[in-house]
Amino acid sequence: PTLLIVAWCLFSSRQWEFTKSEWLCAWTLQCCYTFDEISAKIKQCRDWLEKEEDIFRTFYQFVFDYLKQPKTTNIEKQEALFAWKIVGIDKKWTLFPRWEKFLEENPAKVIPRDGWNMLLRFIQTIDTNMQNYNENDSWPTLLDEFVKAVKKEFQ
């Protein structure tokens, strides 16, 4: 997800476009003046994202806003699945294949921002056997349905 990381470092606001000022500003802030320094920085970011949960969260939330269309508050299901794979959720989370299958069967067409953000929380806090999940809690209803489907399979 190098491109996304670059976009994130640049606080880029428009999809797939980097303005000259964004580029210059951001790299100057990071004190990177040569190409080598830039690639070292990017590598460092990548490490951070692997290790620090909080930093990953900011990156993860940024990715949603970056990938969505300007006037909307959600992204299409297929795009979301794609995005999750890019940022590496599929490797971090053992249940990702199951989640992918669930989404493909589910009639929902889009993933709202809240759903995107909450998924990360879900991965970070809920065990694989879902014993500590409480559906009367403030989890989005999509996750409620997912947990129900998975629990049914466990039985």
Partner: protein
């Protein structure tokens, strides 16, 4: 006991009493109460109030005595009530269903009064049991409304005003147990509309009395539309009087001898009806236009839409030499008037000429074919309808009565109609939940998820019991529409976004 107080120390009395009670009563009370043939259940079944009084007083002496009785009472009432609610025979007979519930309540109110001195805790247990089984069946609200409808239509024939009041009060007690009061309101509105528009309400006073009872129970909001419906009826009759005077003064009479009665209904008050399609014959269209002109001259800035589904028509018909007056629905009238021009028409002809959609046409013609008032003949005379079937005017129609009333409107809903009503109720509920959420969040600014759900449930409890998952869905929708946001510090907390 007096002998004891003579020779033993006063302090011992209490202790000995306790031991005696414990040994004699507590040890055996469970068995006593639960005994098969003579335990509490059989006492309740057979209304053995004296036995129950004795048991109540006896068990009152020990701490847990009443708890056991309450438990058995609650369970037994729940069981009996559940049987009434779920019994297959009662499924389509609203009056028996509700009557049995009323009788049950009466029975236990008596027992409570006579045997238990209206003990508040027992009253509470009884109420909880009733609330439990009444809400087991989703049809309870509809049936209770139908029961009331039946009583209000039959009116005071053979029933004194006092008895009517008493019955209505008792039904109100059942009403209090309904959790889904908004469903009841929808049905009550529908039934009231039919009663008012078709002139079936037997007593205005009884109707008003019922509405004021509902108002006391549920507040002004619940009944404001019902009262609006009454206002409309009154206003309409004044309007019609004015119209008749106006028309009679005109020369030549634009209605050409036809008499038109119009009920003008304010859209917001009456249950929404899909505008039915129906092509009215020319003579009637002319009358409607005259009325419309008159009305709009009195009240400018209003829009009138003609609704033909609930109207009635009176036709003077000649069958051979006999004359009869037929009281039919507007749609039936339209169909019959077509036979003034031709003797026979096919189903397809009727479809094109009247513009009434197929299934409705079918429902409308059926009553005209039944043996009791066979005004039309069907060829082939089989129950099934097909586009090529032909209908003809029955010259040989006979009836003992001069005025023949063709009963059309079914009181109870068909399954598809019930589905429609449920959908409308669900829509309304969604809006009410969202309104409640926004109202609460605006006041509190920030709130925990669990508290928000509890508060919403509390605010809506007078109308229905919202499901926590539904509330969650509404919260999500509001987050998406940026009325609320999740707090960044605590994911279980929401903030209000102005």
């Amino acid at each position: 006991m007096e002998r004891v107080s003579h020779y033993l120390d006063a302090g011992t009395e209490a202790k000995i009493k306790e031991v005696v009670e414990r040994e004699l009563i507590t040890a055996h009370m469970k068995t006593l109460v639960e005994m098969e043939g003579s335990g509490m259940v059989s006492m309740l079944k057979d209304d053995k109030t004296e036995d129950l009084t004795r048991m109540y007083q006896l068990l009152g002496r020990v701490p847990k005595g009443h708890d056991i009785m309450r438990q058995v009472l609650g369970d037994f009432v729940r069981e009996t009530g559940k049987q009434i609610v779920e019994s297959p025979e009662n499924q389509n007979k609203e009056t028996t269903y509700v009557q049995q519930l009323l009788d049950l309540k009466q029975k236990y109110d008596n027992i409570l009064a006579k045997a238990m001195g209206n003990d508040k805790n027992f009253q509470h247990a009884l109420n909880q049991a009733f609330e439990h089984f009444i809400n087991l069946s989703p049809k309870s609200p509809e049936y209770i409304s139908l029961f009331i409808d039946d009583k209000l239509r039959k009116g005071l024939k053979g029933v004194s005003e006092e008895e009517m009041e008493q019955t209505l009060d008792k039904v109100m007690m059942l009403f209090r147990f309904i959790q889904e009061k908004d469903i009841f309101e929808k049905y009550y509105k529908q039934h009231l509309a039919k009663r008012l528009l078709l002139g079936r309400s037997a007593s205005d006073d009884a109707e008003r009395s019922m509405i004021s009872k509902l108002k006391t129970e549920c507040g002004y909001q619940f009944t404001s539309k019902l009262e609006g419906m009454f206002q409309d009826m009154k206003q309409s009759s004044l309007t019609i009087d004015g119209f008749k005077n106006y028309v009679n003064a005109l020369d030549p009479n634009p209605l050409k001898g036809l008499e038109l009665n119009v009920q003008v209904l304010t859209t917001g008050f009456w249950p929404t009806q899909s505008a039915s399609k129906c092509t009215l014959p020319q003579e009637i269209v002319v009358c409607c236009e005259v009325f419309q002109k008159y009305y709009l001259s009195q009240h400018s800035g209003r829009r009138l839409t003609w609704q033909t589904t609930m109207g009635t028509g009176e036709l003077r018909a000649f069958f051979g030499t006999k004359r009869h007056e037929l009281n039919v629905s507007t749609h039936q009238m339209v169909i019959l008037l077509l036979f003034n021009q031709v003797d026979t028409l096919t189903f397809k002809d009727l479809l094109t000429a009247t513009g009434i959609p197929g299934p409705d046409l079918h429902k409308t013609i059926l009553p005209l074919l039944v043996p009791a008032h066979k005004i039309l003949l069907k060829n082939p005379p089989v129950p099934k309808f097909s586009p090529t079937d032909s209908f003809s005017f029955n010259e040989n129609f006979k009836s003992k009565l001069f005025r023949v009333k063709v009963v059309q409107v079914a009181q109870k809903e068909s399954e598809p109609e019930r589905g429609e009503t449920q959908k409308k109720v669900d829509e309304d509920r969604k809006h009410m939940i969202e309104a409640a959420i926004v109202r609460i969040m605006k006041a509190r600014k920030t709130m925990q998820h669990a508290n928000l759900v509890a508060e919403v449930t509390k605010q809506l409890s007078s109308r229905f019991r919202p499901n926590p998952i539904t509330i969650k869905k509404r919260i999500e929708s509001l987050i998406e529409r940026e009325y609320l946001e999740r707090s960044s510090s605590d994911r279980k907390m929401y903030n209000y976004l102005a």
